[in-house]
């Protein structure tokens, strides 16, 4: 199946991609293509927008309408595209630093507005492209090149950040849980409103090496061993959930979408003010 997906949705002349050996971003990029394939939407009606970072290289490999924008501004550009062409399916591929640090302001305000964008955050807990600096999702006490004695910052939970900022569909997938992540991505794209899927990736080159997490297979096995389904997590105590990652849909509601509201305003002025 993968072979057909790659032939159909990827720019084959750009392969092999630039990601390090064992980087989970390749798997997540394929998961997005698989989810789009299930939706059966015209390729020309899909627009992929990315910022800067390892994750954001994805738009270079995927054969849709794609824009590689400036650092942190993927959601800002995507907002413009969606407002100008509400019929497009606008998907943002971003990293943890791009979404929550440099573009943190755009992220929370797009969530507050509930504009119909789908944001896939490739969360590898570190700035990989620039050399392993700690990011907003690097867990407290973990190491990075700029945290040689351990990170003293409290880390962000991207799913919680999205939920409490007003996003109407929030979920978390991982590299290991391929089928589940594809299903979540599919639902996120179908959802009318701001939807976020926090995709747990692995960075064996920097995060894995700095934190003695082993090689790529060990990091993916860690995801397998420590994932808890969001439904099961509701019945567990905080102590039981320490060190675990919650996989699955974590939030869903049906607040009115932003471009629809804007269309209502525009409709009021058709044929003069009434």
């Amino acid at each position: 199946m993968t072979h057909e997906i790659i032939e159909k949705y990827f720019r084959k002349d750009m392969m092999p991609h630039i990601f390090c050996p064992g980087c989970g971003h390749g798997v997540l990029m394929k998961d997005i293509a698989c989810a789009i394939d299930k939706l059966d939407v015209d390729k020309d009606k899909i627009c992929l927008v990315s910022g800067i970072g390892c994750s954001s290289r994805a738009t270079g490999y995927m054969d849709f309408n794609t824009i590689h924008t400036t650092h942190g501004r993927a959601i800002a550009v995507a907002t413009g595209i969606k407002m100008a062409n509400p019929e497009l399916m606008v998907i943002v591929i971003t990293g943890d630093g791009d979404a929550a640090a440099i573009g943190g302001n755009h992220f929370i305000h797009a969530a507050r507005r509930n504009i119909d964008l789908t944001v896939f955050v490739f969360n590898n807990n570190i700035y990989g492209m620039t050399g392993g600096q700690f990011s907003p999702t690097t867990p407290t006490d973990d190491y990075g090149t700029t945290a040689p004695y351990g990170n003293i910052d409290q880390d962000f939970d991207i799913a919680d950040l999205a939920k409490y900022s007003g996003a109407t569909f929030v979920a978390r997938g991982s590299v290991y849980h391929v089928d589940k992540t594809i299903r979540l991505m599919e639902r996120a794209m179908l959802h009318k409103g701001f939807s976020v899927v926090d995709c747990m990736s692995n960075c064996p080159t920097y995060y894995g090496r700095k934190n003695h997490k082993g090689k790529a297979p060990d990091m993916i096995r860690w995801q397998k061993d420590n994932a808890v389904d969001s439904k099961k997590a509701e019945t567990m105590t905080d102590e039981e959930l320490t060190g675990k990652i919650i996989i699955g849909e974590t939030h869903h509601d049906n607040r009115e979408e932003y471009t629809a509201k804007y269309q209502k305003i525009k409709d009021r002025f058709v044929g003069g003010i009434k």
Binding site: P21, P204, I220
Partner: protein
């Protein structure tokens, strides 16, 4: 029974030798030699597709036709 199995393919030009497929293969079908994935015994393959799903470089896949 073997006729229902899918055939395993490897594209060595895409493989970066990360070893994920080898680690998650339940039947020891694969190994890494010269930093590339290598099929050591295809007859052991049960066609579960774990290697295909978890390969970040799209270098290993099962074909859709009935094989063997």
């Amino acid at each position: 029974m073997a006729s229902t199995l899918k055939t395993l393919f490897v594209d060595k030009s895409l493989c970066k030798g990360c070893g994920i497929c080898v680690a998650f293969c339940p039947k020891s079908v694969l190994n890494i030699s010269n930093e590339k994935v290598n099929i050591i015994d295809e007859t052991l393959c049960i066609g579960c597709g774990m290697c295909e799903k978890l390969c970040p470089d799209y270098a290993i896949y099962l074909n859709e036709k009935e094989g063997k």
